[in-house]
């Protein structure tokens, strides 16, 4: 049995950019917890963010991809390691940071999964989908933290 999902919520005083609320999660490295974690974040944000469709679709898919990548490739499903999720949000924007305990990866060189030679591969579409579904993607230098930004449509 996995360790439970840990979550905490806080209001941010004098927050920049209208990101006046914060949700933090600590997710054990178990792929069976991805959906639960994503739904928890989506439920919080649906009430706060102005565009529900963006939360229901773009956010859910992008966050599921980022957390799954962190568990599978960052933490190599090591149950002693966790994935940290920090979500800053307000009515018009959402910033999600997902951090794993791995060594990171070279995010600058990821094959294009839409090329004919790669299209039959059963993997390699996660980061591509994230980039398509959110407005901005940033990584830390090590490549073990991804920051995804969604803005009002």
């Amino acid at each position: 049995m996995s360790a439970p999902l840990y979550a905490e919520f806080a209001r941010r005083e004098d927050a920049e950019g209208g990101l006046d609320a914060e949700l933090r999660l600590r997710i054990p490295s178990d792929v069976n917890l991805v959906d639960e974690a994503v739904e928890l974040v989506a439920r919080h944000l649906e009430a706060a963010f102005v565009d529900r469709h963006t939360i229901r679709f773009n956010l859910r898919v992008a966050l599921a991809e980022a957390v799954a990548n962190a568990i599978l490739y960052g933490n190599c499903e090591d149950r002693d390691k966790g994935v940290g999720v920090r979500v800053l949000f307000g009515r018009n924007a959402v910033e999600m940071e997902v951090t794993d305990e791995g060594c990171g990866f070279d995010f600058r060189h990821v094959p294009d999964p839409t090329l004919p030679a790669n299209r039959m591969r059963p993997y390699g579409r996660g980061l591509f989908l994230i980039r398509q579904l959110v407005d901005e993607v940033r990584f830390n230098e090590a490549g073990n933290t991804i920051c995804m930004v969604l803005r009002r449509a």
């Binding site: 069976n32 679709f57 859910r60 599921a64 799954a68 039959m120 390699g124 996660g126 591509f128 989908l129």
Partner: protein, 111 residues
């Protein structure tokens, strides 16, 4: 259960995805289809009418199943994708790999 299966009178195995098709349950779908393939089924329809979202692992399993079914001389069709799910297939250009119809009835008629 997220994956409900039924055998259509025409010999088509219909799998309904109820909820998400993602990293946490993709192996369950894969195993169901592979077991049916092993048992002799050759026509498969995956119905996404009740599906919330699919992640890249879910898409990957569909690609992998498509190849296995084709190698065995079978046929895999997808149906019931809402606009968001269609967008995922279009973005990844997987709409060029799969036979996709709007409804399960249309897919069943096309086998």
């Amino acid at each position: 259960m997220p994956f409900n299966t039924r055998k259509h009178p025409g010999g088509v195995l219909v799998v309904e995805v109820d909820g998400q098709l993602i990293v946490g349950n993709r192996q369950e779908l894969k195993q169901k289809v592979l077991d049916a393939l092993e048992a002799g089924s050759r026509k498969f329809l995956i119905d996404f009418t009740k599906t919330g979202y699919i992640d890249s692992s879910g898409l990957g399993v569909l690609v992998s199943l498509s190849k296995k079914i084709r190698d065995e001389g079978g046929d895999l069709r997808l149906a019931g994708l809402n606009d968001d799910l269609k967008t995922l297939f279009e973005l990844t250009k997987l709409d060029t790999l799969f036979a996709i119809t709007d409804s399960a009835a249309e897919a069943l008629a096309a086998f």
